[in-house]
Subunit: 330 residues, 3 copies
């Protein structure tokens, strides 16, 4: 695997990812995807290393995906769930992280409800001159790099299963639909999906897609487009990514009703008529069936890539842990 060309120590944001880095992740994930189809799905790559999942914001889905990825690489895993822990009582987050460092953690996978926490911890580790790596598993409304990378891998693998690469996106039209304002998934995807000459179209009600999102496209001209209705975003789209709608948005008066949201921005079979014939639908999960996407569409393997995304998640997270982890022992 092409780890020898990898130099990034932490994975915190996709804002400055290079084309070469995207391709290395895709290539490495493809080789792990092959491992996962074998009878024995484990490799000894990270034997003796400790991967600590420090989830200050709970998430069973993402934590399980990282845990299974680490175990496939033969790492030992530690789980820390803030909700059930008295550890953080009076202790700063940096002190918690330093405690796991001192216990011998090699890689920290960190999720926190506040933007910037993984970056702050990574900075502290670097200041201390230690080799531990930090992987951002979602920070506030900032970024969720592994989710965007698994979305990318899912799309590129569909386009060329043997050789997924960023180049395959060239000329494609991708639409992201839903609560973009509050979505770290969308923000990470904006970086990855505009890294090549593809067109990325964002669509949501104005309350969930403020105009300032156009700023993300300023130095990437002709790549990012905003829509406050669904149809123009879907027109001739090759991929449609729907985002999870947090039901608490309702009580914040950002949406009139779930029913009306589904009527205006939900993806159904008839809406897909506007797209290209081979259009595929993605969703980071968990899905509110009948809200972001109609229930029958979600289950239709002709259109839905949702299960592929989950499988890609394990392969991509194995790749990320491998790329940042193998430097330590190599």
């Amino acid at each position: 695997m092409p780890a020898n060309t990898w130099s990034r120590h932490h994975i915190l944001s996709l804002a400055d990812f290079t084309t070469n880095e995207y391709d290395t992740v895709l290539k490495t994930a493809a080789s792990f995807r092959e491992v996962l189809s074998r009878r024995t799905k484990k490799v000894p790559t990270l034997q003796g290393q400790v991967v600590a999942n420090l989830f200050f914001e709970p998430s069973t889905r993402t934590r399980s995906s990282f845990e299974i990825a680490a175990k496939r690489l033969s790492a030992d895993t530690l789980n820390f769930a803030s909700a059930t822990s008295s550890m953080t009582k009076g202790e700063t987050i940096l002190d918690t992280a330093k405690t796991y460092l001192a216990m011998g953690t090699d890689i920290m996978v960190i999720r926190h409800q506040q933007a910037g926490v993984p970056q702050a911890i990574a900075q502290e580790m670097d200041n201390l001159g230690v080799k531990v790596s930090v992987l951002n598993a979602g920070d506030g409304q900032h970024e969720h790099p592994s989710q965007a990378l698994l979305d990318l891998f899912t799309i590129c693998t569909l386009l060329d299963i043997n050789n997924p690469r960023l180049e395959l996106l060239r000329g494609k039209k991708i639409a992201i639909i839903g609560d973009i304002l509050h979505s770290r998934v969308a923000r990470s995807n904006i970086w990855s999906l505009t890294a090549i000459n593809a067109e990325l179209h964002l669509a949501a009600p104005p309350t969930l897609l403020p105009k300032f999102f156009a700023d993300y496209g300023q130095d990437r001209p002709g790549k990012l487009f905003l829509h406050w209705e669904l149809e123009s975003a879907l027109e001739n789209a090759d991929f449609v990514m729907t985002l999870r709608l947090q039901k608490e948005r309702m009580t914040a008066h950002l949406l009139p009703s779930l029913r009306e949201y589904h009527h205006l921005f939900g993806i159904t079979r008839s809406q897909l008529q506007l797209c290209n014939a081979n259009v595929k639908v993605l969703h980071p999960g968990p899905v509110n069936r009948g809200v972001e996407i109609s229930s029958d569409l979600m289950d239709d393997p002709e259109f839905s890539l949702i299960q592929n995304q989950v499988t890609s998640g394990v392969a991509v997270r194995m790749a990320l842990l491998y790329l940042i982890g193998s430097g330590k022992t190599g």
Copy 2:
């Protein structure tokens, strides 16, 4: 081990278990019981496989037993506890299961407060044409097959430690005492303990043992008997299984008081006088000491098989995971 004669893919209910299947489980568990007595208690059977414990209803005891069984077989384990998870927010149970499938789970051990959930998930997996196996670890008031199988193994091992088999139950009298109405353990035990010519006697207050339980015995004539008082059930019994009494039954006005329940249906040393001389007592745990059973009797190794049951649990669960899991890699 005799896995080559095994064809059942999921273990959901004992209602249609064959004599041959019972004997295969008993024989396989016996061989794992031998492994557990060795210095190194692990075998590489399920190396690289993922066993996910999806406990929508929390249970430390059963989850620990499955977890230790899976680890003894060298599987990787994932734990999901609904209470501490936000995963199920708005997501259907089938979608949660499909997510664990897509992550690469090989065996799902499922507990849910609603009857039928493991069956529904198994059905969905079969519809999807995937190889993943489902093991029912307790669903509502329906069934708890691994508990009944460990009870069976505990009894048969006592009767012939080298060759536990269903045949050994022939002519025995077994009494189940307690809250049968709400007990999935009792329902699974009704199937296993009437699979051979043994006599199974159920005893409880009328509120906890409705007459319709007689229906279970309709196609198994002369095997199942109902009692609304304790003495006739205990008479000449070889084995007495007591059931856990949920204290919330009191508030539902099904019982006058714990004290009165113990007086009428609690098992004490003097009650055992009615039984056969070598009578043994079982309880699925956790025990309310002094309610279902007197405290001194529970601790008396001459009568109590309660600790044996827990040890049997690990051997039986290793056998079940092995039997449904080894087909996948073989």
Copy 3:
């Protein structure tokens, strides 16, 4: 490693630890500290053994330390957290422990909010004639032996990294500052730090250091000293151990305010002027920055051993698990 001289089966208290036992722990921990600096940080010592962390009182920090230590020794680990468990409903603690015994647990690491629980469980195991070992991970206000041993290892390793031994403490002055009354850490440290001719000075407000603590020193004359103000305790000290202040002490009217506590008993750079030039500061964590110790001092590697303590914790716990665990398979 010198396990052949080790005969203690449970580690419950340091009250009767011998000089030879302290030295064996220090020497064994030193060899594991060396393992932890290797590329592959695992040894197969406890392969196939099960270490159950039974934390009736939750603690992420200590549980993670034991979990990582057990995994480094290749043991399988089980975690039980009382807060999220329905297991103890109506079941006695001894019954819970016997259940884990029956499942095949080899070592139980037990934390409980009540003093004496680990002792009671160890006693029960011995009565049953089984080989399972119990390790006290903190019981009420009684003892926390592994914490005191890691403190000792941290100090002795600083004094001679290649050959840490109790003898190195001879003639040293060590001060323990803070909520001694409620501290099991302090109580265990009183035993270890007076095991050789060192001077141990305790300092706290009178509400947190009752006079009866002098009793601990009665048969160890000239070793234990009590102070109700800070300065005399710090004078010429070689090591200063600060204790965590539970914020709930405030509501119990034992302290006027955190601000005043810090003013009178908090450790700052200027307070350290009273100590010896090479003085070092310890804290069992988690630290309330600016209460027990000033924030800048905590982060100053010239004075603070706090991170070393955490690392020592893993090495010492590996040593303890090894010493009590290897007897079972040897």
